[in-house]
Symmetry: none
DNA sequence: GATGAATGAGGATTCATTCAT
DNA sequence: CATGAATGAATCCTCATTCAT
């Protein structure tokens, strides 16, 4: 009604914008929800807040998502998507050494996934997995396993061509995965890990982890270093 | 006043046997709370549920803890402070090499902290930190920083005596911390990481991580391995 | 989530017809709250009861008032501020004698304030003041002091023009205020003061009080009547 | 147990004190309850607080009083007692004039009743009457009516002997009662009436009220002063 | 009798969800 | 479709009352 009587161009612009928005609503809601779920957790995020951040009313949220739980699931499903698939495809055509591939894979993953909001999903899942078992298995199938398979392929290639020493791949994959997951956690749990003194620069962190991963920290590395319970035990 | 007016026999039957065990209550409540907080998160855990699991009534919980939040803090204090302090003390009297110390430290930490219920708290914190800023800084001061300092001491010792090559300690510490945090996450987010096929054996995982940490994965490790953006980039 | 799972016809029947009358709600709630607070006191009045009397649900009450205490304050603000201000304004333009003004003021106050539900608030305050210090000072500033100032102005005028004998105004004001407060108390504590036999007619009561106030009860009044401990003491 | 092994005199003293106390308990509880009920109201007073102030445990309170309501009733009944009866008896043997009697009665009542904790009962009743109808009628019968009868007797005597002009006693009694009730209210509702600036001296207040009651405030009192709606009305 | 630990009904408040406009 | 007023189940917490010691 306010704009009803004037048919100046601005009105059309507004309507056009609203039209476009109509299409975009679910996406805006998902974005807002992602932010808030990551920041505050599922339970502590209020539906109204999500709506407000998306610029719509509470009612509209429930127009697009049956419930807060469904919204949560949609957020996860929407964001888990094909990043890993994409990395896998890239691997198929990659020409360099396995070492380069490790470097490339970790750096690229960070740029395309870890540094984006999507990474918040990983944190979300770890927090809420037990309250949403079905989501957890979805995540398992969509992210965890493909990620492990990709990692495994890279390591296998390095072993095959003599770049890497023989490794138990079931466990070695976590040499790559663990530091990246840890980075996500620190990035997405602002108060938990990052005091003022300790603040990670992601690129430097990744570089260092790659360095340690490939070369270890020992000055004179032993190719075979059997770990056993040391004779020097803690009291 | 509630039951005051009916003094029929059924009333007595309604009351569970009232045991008076003032000394034991707080501990039982803390145990119950730890279980539930770890399992479901802070917000999703109802006060009454905690009480029920401890075998007491709602009211009794609030007899010992001013609020649910205070209960949470008490759980944290009870379960995590001291562990790191203990490890630090152990370090002071340790005789072996820095490598042995790394091995020992990671294995001992796992046995004494990581494998226990307490470790669930670490996962909890990452989820709830933003909703409880003061708790987060408490955790920061009590756990994160002491842990980093201990790790740093060990690495420094190894560098000093030539066991380890020179390292940027600010980042190298995460070579030890990250895999352990990752292990906690997987252990305490049962559905998120551990499908039926992929199930970690913690000791084996730790051994492998130590192996990679000390020796890296390269067949012919380069003592200096500058990481740079590879010429072979992903598409 | 509550009713989400049952979508049987009975569900619709459970919902009372939902009327949307945003403008009207606060007023209706304030009226209901006034009634109940006056009748039962602040603490003994349940929020849900107020809502029910206003014809809305519990939740709606908290939509308009942040808390029960805020509701209480709103009731006070709505009902008592302004009355005294109004009387003060009336005084400014009053033409008659001071005596007439006393008469007029007491009668008008009764009609406009004392006889209305608002007066129940005055009684309320005396009961709940100690539990709501900030409310008490609000009341003090908004009602008590302006009331005293008005009373004092009237008496001063009468003294100045020789209608009244010289009086210690700090205390004389209560010659007017006390009987009116007493009237409020009796009117709003139905069981406490008004048995079947003894039932006050307010207008007659006020007339009588005015008569006694202006003329006293002595047959041959002494202009100066120093009160001292009488030689005839009670045993 | 702490004192079990020493049989020094101090132990006996403690026991002796406890013995004596046992008799006094209900009285101490009633005193504590009176204080707290007057100060905070019925609902806002916690049973435990009453017990604590009486120096006993929560359980003990319910040993002597079936419920908080019964405690309240006992407090009222205990304190309403024979003050008025006493004043009535004093009147029977009083020798002085009716004027002296008014003076005496008001001053004595203040000293023996108004200034004591018992007066808190009057405030209590006005606050809680509607929640405790039975108490209200008890109060009515024990306090209000005897008080009015006494007042009436005094006034009647003054009229009979020509000291007072003819009065409608049904209303004139409140010329004496109202200021006293008002005084009680102000004294027992600390925050409601007494700001820093306005603080009543009871004796001075009573003297002034007596002065006004007996003599009025007019400079030239008219024995007959018919109150009617003045031609000068407030706007 | 006295104690105070334990109980649980009750009440304030929140917030996901509904639905009249 | 969009809105936001209205709803009421759910949850934290209090405190009168009970009862084992």
């Amino acid at each position: 009604m306010p704009l009803a009587k004037l048919s100046c161009p601005i009105k059309k612009a507004l309507h056009a914008k609203r039209e476009r928005r109509k299409e975009a609503r679910p996406g805006e809601l998902l974005d807002a929800a992602l932010d808030l779920f990551v920041e505050k957790g599922f339970a502590a995020t209020r539906a109204e807040e999500v709506a407000a951040r998306a610029g719509v009313s509470k009612g509209t949220l429930f127009l697009y998502f049956q419930s807060k739980e469904e919204l949560f699931k949609a957020v996860v499903r929407e964001n888990i998507s094909g990043h890993i698939r994409e990395l896998n495809a890239a691997f198929d055509t990659f020409e360099g050494s396995a070492k380069d591939m490790v470097v490339q894979c970790m750096q690229t993953w960070w740029q395309r996934v870890g540094a984006t909001k999507s990474a918040g999903i990983d944190k979300l899942i770890t927090s809420e997995a037990s309250n949403f078992p079905e989501l957890a298995s979805f995540y398992q199938a969509e992210v965890i396993e493909p990620g492990q398979i990709l990692t495994r392929r890279i390591l296998q290639k390095g072993i095959d061509n003599g770049e890497f020493r023989p490794l138990d791949l079931d466990y070695a994959v976590f040499g790559i995965i663990a530091p990246m997951m840890f980075l996500i956690m620190t990035k997405n749990s602002p108060n938990a890990f990052c005091s003022d003194q300790i603040f990670l620069n992601p690129e430097k962190y990744i570089a260092m982890q790659i360095d340690m991963l490939l070369n270890g920290i020992s000055a004179i590395p032993a190719t075979s270093h059997p770990i056993k319970t040391s004779p020097h035990e803690f009291n």
